[in-house]
């Protein structure tokens, strides 16, 4: 690399870092920590095949005699000799696939319903609100159990269960926000200019109702991590060979007296993601003030 090239790239990068560090969100310590944990797990999830020392389903019979941490298996193995570190690393993949998918779907449905209800009012609003009330009657776990009775456990049923149980809350929040800005001048101006309702909702209203929605997004992502971990723990999650943090905890519970690490390490992994989401929510709340 020549000196000239170096000089042209350095200021830009420094500038980017300065901007990032100076951005209001990262001035909050809780947001920085939360974001760091999430980015860490995201990198682990994406890079799993290259980072993990072993195949997460490969069984090391020699190690299963003593699953404690050793030089070959840094975090030890599970009861049947599968490398725990690799399973936790691949478990991040499961979490970071199921969670974003289901939370995104819940927010998409909820935001559209809330925008439509708040904007159009009248019958649209009443019907959407009643539908939301009915869905709120179902605890997430109960809804999921009903779904798997007919359709069997699958990724999509988790997504549907999370969407149906979280969307009504998102819709209520969104509706309130829409009602608050609906009568403001810039929205009226857009209407007077003859913009279509869809355009106004997407370009004028949505960007201005952001913060409460983002805080809610972080909190609900945390709940979703708990829910999905719980499903795995109850044996209702994705089918067994898939490494799943909740499922790994339950596999280790019986060996708690001798090898507590088998249950405690994946439990710590789940908790770290929930904590990260809550910290991030706090960070957004602070910056909004």
């Amino acid at each position: 690399m020549t000196a000239g090239a170096d000089r042209t790239t350095t200021p830009a990068r420094a500038g980017f870092l300065v901007r990032l560090r100076g951005s209001r969100l990262l001035r909050s310590r809780s947001a920085t920590v939360g974001l760091a944990i999430l980015v860490f797990w995201l990198v682990v999830a994406i890079g799993a095949p290259w980072i993990a020392p072993y195949d997460p389903t490969a069984i090391d019979f020699a190690a299963s005699a003593d699953p404690s941490p050793s030089a070959a298996h840094w975090l030890g193995t599970d009861a049947i000799g599968r490398d725990l570190l690799s399973r936790i690393i691949f478990g991040a993949r499961t979490t970071f696939l199921v969670i974003p998918l289901s939370v995104f779907s819940a927010f998409l449905v909820g935001a559209i319903a809330g925008l439509a209800g708040g904007w159009y009012g009248g019958w649209t609003d009443t019907i959407l609100a009643r539908a939301g009330d009915v869905m709120l009657a179902f605890p997430a776990l109960v809804l999921y159990i009903i779904l798997i009775t007919t359709f069997g456990p699958s990724l999509w049923n988790i997504v549907i269960a999370v969407t149906l149980t979280y969307a009504p809350g998102v819709a209520r929040l969104m509706r309130g926000q829409v009602l608050a800005v609906k009568g403001l001048e810039y929205v009226l101006a857009a209407r007077a200019a003859g913009e279509s309702p869809i355009y106004i909702m997407a370009a004028e209203i949505l960007p201005n109702v952001g913060t409460p929605l983002i805080v809610d997004l972080c909190l609900r992502t945390g709940y979703a991590v708990i829910l999905v971990g719980t499903l795995g723990f109850l044996g209702l999650g994705l089918p067994p060979p898939t490494p799943d943090w909740g499922g790994m905890v339950v596999e280790g519970v019986n060996l708690m007296t001798i090898y507590p690490h088998i249950a405690l390490l994946p439990a710590a992994a789940v908790t770290s993601v929930v904590v990260a989401c809550n910290l991030l929510a706090d960070g957004f709340r602070e910056t909004a003030r």
Partner: protein, 337 residues
């Protein structure tokens, strides 16, 4: 006032009806699925046919839903029992009585009997959990809220915030690790067998503790923020400036008004505890209806799932209704509006 209550009551009935229809529609989505769940995977085509005819599984979904409701309240007989179906299912109460949920396929018994065995255990668990959650979170929440910003408030706030980040199953695993696996003070499972070397009381400690820890952390936060909000109200300042004794201000002016939000939250918390109960019963092998729901789901016991989810749904909707009602009753401002 009466109009508001009637209005809410109407909403309550409407939500329960629609939700129960959805529950029925999803579980009995395909008639073939129902017959094969009852007969098992190796049933002959002719057996499936005759069972479908007998139970009217080919009728429209709505007809079947009405028949299911009718069976539940004792207006329509359950056709599944008796020697005619050849499944060996029989009910000493007959085919028609109030509360007839049908048969549990997993246990080959009427569901009422299955529930009777388990229901009391779950009630015990929940009553203890709520009975402890309420006083603990009220005391901690009021203490923290009254002393906002103090060291005590910080300790309570940080602890409760951290605890709400812990999933119930993680709390359970940690408690088992400390009190059962390491110290050996308490049993790590709670099958409630009378002959067990641990007394029934000691078997209840950890399951109740998990529920109390998980829910009181949340309720404490709500109580605290409600107290803090109330303290900032002008009427509290007025009471203080009038020279009322601090204790009198706290009890009469602050607490009475600060309790409105928490009452609703506590009622909704019962709804939330439902999920916690399934987790706790599963991990401690506790013989309640939460574990029964999980077993039924894993077995595919369709009628038992319908019964249990309907119960869960009714509890959830009822607590939401009561929470709403409590809010209206406690806050005169809403009553007038």
């Amino acid at each position: 006032m009466a109009r508001i209550v009637l209005n809410r009551l109407g909403q309550f009935a409407f939500i329960l009806l629609i939700a129960s229809f959805l529950l029925f529609a999803v579980t009995e989505f395909s008639p073939g699925n129902v017959a094969s769940k009852i007969l098992g995977p190796y049933a002959l085509e002719s057996q499936v046919r005759s069972l479908s005819d007998r139970l009217g599984l080919d009728d429209p979904l709505f007809t079947r839903y009405l028949r299911w409701l009718g069976m539940l309240v004792g207006l329509v007989p359950n056709e599944l029992g008796g020697p005619a179906t050849g499944l060996g299912l029989s009910d000493p109460r007959g085919a028609q009585y109030f509360g007839n949920f049908g048969f549990s396929l997993m246990q080959g018994r009427p569901i009422v009997d299955v529930l009777a065995d388990r229901f009391g255990h779950t009630v015990t668990l929940t009553v203890w959990a709520i009975g402890l959650t309420v006083p603990i979170s009220l005391v901690l929440g009021v203490l923290a809220g009254m002393t906002e910003g103090s060291a005590l408030d910080r300790i309570i706030s940080v602890t409760t915030v951290s605890l709400t980040s812990l999933p119930e199953f993680v709390v359970a695993v940690l408690l088992i690790f400390v009190f059962a696996a390491s110290l050996g003070w308490l049993p790590g499972t709670s099958p409630l067998d009378p002959g067990d070397r641990w007394s029934v009381g000691s078997q209840l400690v950890l399951p109740v503790a998990v529920l109390v820890i998980a829910s009181s952390a949340y309720v404490t936060r709500i109580v605290r923020s409600s107290v803090v909000d109330t303290l900032a109200q002008p009427f509290v300042r007025t009471a203080r400036l009038k020279g009322l004794a601090p204790m009198r201000v706290a009890m009469l002016h602050v607490l009475r008004n600060a309790m409105i939000a928490p009452v609703t939250v506590i009622l909704l918390q019962i709804n939330w505890i439902l999920t916690g109960v399934v987790v706790v019963e599963a991990i401690f092998a506790y013989p309640g209806i939460g574990r029964l729901m999980l077993e039924a789901a894993l077995f595919g016991d369709i009628y038992l799932i319908q019964a249990l989810t309907l119960i869960a749904l009714s509890v959830a909707v009822t607590t939401q209704f009561l929470g709403d009602l409590a809010y209206v009753l406690l806050d005169p401002r809403i009553r007038v509006a």
